[in-house]
């Protein structure tokens, strides 16, 4: 068991390191002139170019720049720019020359909004997806089963951003059925109400695949011999379904759930953009528009770490549930 965890962790660490190196190369060596690329203006004046070059050492060899960045991740670093000294605590992800703040300040203050949105969506898609999935499995072959599967296929097939956009434009902005997003400083009630529309649409669209997962898993479980045994013993159908069937059917769903929540933490980008939720995805997109490379890189790194760590947690958790995976 321990060797499995160690091997799996080493793999995860190597992936994170590779992401770090390739992201660094992409953003610091990718542009033909990194200092110009990080400058807020399209034609940067020489004094400012030099200030940028000096503050993050762009004139030094690439390997040294990387080591400085790497060290900053563990002990933090200070940026001297335009007469100010900005301290960036560990894990320091860099400094934005556009907003003159550390990337940490830009991103970590917004991360909770993304987490709230992802978790609210998760509540929606788990309840809706699992409930309808079981319903479809129990009434397999009936009209309601076909209707549910068909609806989930259609919902899951239309481009997500088009659906989200239409929900944002019509019920939220035009008809005011659901309130628009407001920051938490405006009150907890309006904040959660504003999250409702984005969480609902994100959750409903994601639930489409859960309906099918749950249905298939449940159908497979219900065709097992031990379910027939349970039924023949005269146990009530309710107990058979929930105590014997549901529990066994849920273990594959639990794995997918972990990975999907990780994907959501980085994948709420479109939802945040369309509904104006002030999360890291929206911040990353804004950084893209101003070509604020350090912020984009920070967002990519946070996303990669979240996905890799969640993958690791799910794999290890699953190896406890199902010991066979450890051996493969």
């Amino acid at each position: 068991m321990l060797t499995y965890i160690l091997r799996r962790s080493a793999l995860a660490l190597s992936v994170i390191m590779a992401t770090l190196v390739s992201a660094f190369l992409l953003f610091f060596a990718g542009p033909s002139d990194p200092a110009q690329a990080m400058c807020p203006e399209t034609k940067c004046n020489p004094a400012r170019l030099e200030a940028i070059t000096k503050s993050i050492g762009l004139d030094k060899p690439l390997i040294e720049q990387f080591l400085t960045y790497f060290k900053g991740l563990f002990v933090g670093r200070d940026f001297v720019y335009a007469g100010d000294t900005v301290h960036c605590g560990a894990p320091c992800l860099g400094f934005s020359f556009v907003t003159r703040r550390s990337v940490n300040e830009e991103l970590f203050t917004r991360f909770p909004n993304t987490v709230v949105l992802a978790l609210m969506a998760a509540v929606v898609f788990v309840t809706v997806g699992v409930t309808f999935g079981i319903l479809a499995a129990v009434r397999r072959g009936s009209a309601s089963d076909r209707g549910l599967v068909g609806a989930s296929q259609v919902l899951g097939s239309i481009p997500y951003y088009v659906l989200a956009l239409l929900v944002a434009l019509y019920p939220v902005i035009l008809w005011n059925v659901l309130p628009q997003y407001s920051a938490i400083s405006a009150g907890v009630g309006p904040y959660f109400m504003g999250m409702l529309a984005p969480a609902l649409i994100l959750g409903l669209v994601t639930s489409a695949s859960y309906v099918r997962y749950t249905r298939n898993s449940m159908i497979e479980t219900l065709s097992m011999d031990y379910i027939r045994t349970a039924r023949s013993k005269g146990i009530s159908e309710r107990t058979v379904l929930f105590k014997h069937g549901f529990r066994a059917a849920m273990s594959p769903i639990a794995t997918i759930l972990g990975l999907d929540i990780a994907a959501l933490l980085t994948g709420t980008l479109i939802t945040e953009q369309i509904f104006g939720v002030d999360g890291i995805g929206r911040r990353g997109l804004a950084a893209l528009r101003s070509f604020d490379l350090p912020v984009i890189m920070g967002t990519v790194l946070i996303g990669a770490v979240v996905v890799v760590v969640m993958n690791l947690v799910v794999d290890i958790a699953y190896s406890f549930i199902d010991p066979r995976v450890r051996l493969s």
């Binding site: 793999l11 953003f27 980008l269 990353g284 997109l285 893209l288 070509f291 990669a304 996905v307």
Partner: protein, 343 residues
């Protein structure tokens, strides 16, 4: 195309020589998975409706110039409609169009620039379809090649390939793609003064390359797993024992067994790439003006959605319907290849 294997040869000869009376047709022996799937697909109503919708959009894309030429000559400009000519005389000083939907402009004209919306819509089908099919084709080839190599060779090569797959799968792809596209574009365009058309064309191909670079992993993993189990099977061992060269083993023995999963994966990839392109265009990293694209039109039109819905809706409907039809057809193809699915 792989050479017909022994199984299909026998079965073809059976079919050609068969003068079996109808009552014996129930006894079906030795049909290839592809033929079974094809037969099931032909009976699937959803698949047929979806194919018709896809065909409609293909025809719109191919005959876009002809369709646009059917529109009447505009009485104000005195010119035939085309997707790129700006007609500021058709909009008022607020940028709102002064002409509505008419025989000269079936869907009206674009606010601010006065371009013909039907022409933009018809030409907008082109980039979606080209990107979808080209990217799906290219990423299928990359995925199959890497999966075959990794799965068959095993050892260190396999370890490296699976690590690369794991690595790519853990990247926040959408964000990375959004960041890479402008960087790559600036690299390519650096120092040259390019016309908007050239910039737009560069962006188009950059987009396809990036979509392929980040889109091959799923299929590669699938193929790798299948090949790993196939290479231990008797027919492959036998081929190796009589000294068949590795290339022939890969392409004549193993690959024909993977046609089902590869077709399924490719058919699901097409709508995924079209969605991706539209999403990127919407977020500002996809296609750029003056290329007509549904994703761009939706992004531009959302600001005037309440006052001028005719700008937004044709692209929304076109994109949704095309992607929906392609996805449902993909689902049908998957079901047709899946022996356990009985709908």
């Amino acid at each position: 195309m792989p050479e017909p294997s022994a199984a299909t040869l026998i079965e073809e000869s059976e079919e050609t020589s068969s003068t079996t009376p109808p009552e014996h047709q129930e006894v079906r022996t030795g049909r290839s998975p592809g033929q079974v799937a094809w037969a099931r697909l032909k009976r699937d109503k959803v698949a047929i409706i979806c194919s018709a919708i896809i065909l409609f959009f293909l025809l719109v894309a191919i005959f876009a110039p002809f369709l646009v030429s059917l529109e009447a000559v505009d009485p104000i400009t005195g010119a035939k409609a085309d997707p790129s000519t700006v007609h500021t005389e058709l909009v008022d000083f607020n940028g709102l169009p002064t002409v509505g939907a008419s025989s000269a402009h079936w869907l009206g004209v674009e606010p601010r620039l006065g371009r013909d919306l039907f022409a933009r819509w018809a030409y907008g089908a082109r980039p979606s379809l080209i990107i979808g099919f080209v990217a799906a084709f290219a990423s299928t080839i990359v995925g199959v090649a890497l999966g075959l190599v990794g799965g068959y060779l095993g050892g260190a090569t396999d370890k490296v390939i699976s690590w690369i797959i794991d690595f790519f799968l853990s990247l926040p792809i959408l964000l990375l793609v959004l960041a890479i596209i402008p960087i790559m574009q600036k690299r390519i365009a650096a120092g040259n003064d390019l016309t908007p058309e050239q910039t737009s064309a560069i962006r188009f191909w950059v987009l396809i390359v990036i979509l392929v670079v980040f889109g091959w992993m799923g299929l590669a993993r699938l193929v790798r797993g299948e090949v790993k189990s196939l290479r231990e099977r008797e027919f492959v061992q036998a081929a190796r024992a009589i000294g068949v060269p590795t290339r022939s083993i890969l392409f004549r023995e193993i690959l024909p067994n993977l046609v089902g999963p590869i077709i399924v994966s490719a058919s699901i990839a097409v709508p995924a790439y079209i969605t991706y392109e539209a999403t990127l265009s919407y977020l500002g990293a996809g296609l750029v003006e003056p290329t007509a694209s549904w994703g761009r039109t939706i992004a531009d039109a959302q600001n005037l959605f309440a006052t001028y819905p005719l700008w937004l809706w044709p692209s929304v409907i076109g994109l949704s319907l095309l992607v929906l039809a392609l996805s449902l057809l993909g689902d049908s193809i998957r079901d047709a290849f899946d022996p356990t699915s009985r709908r």
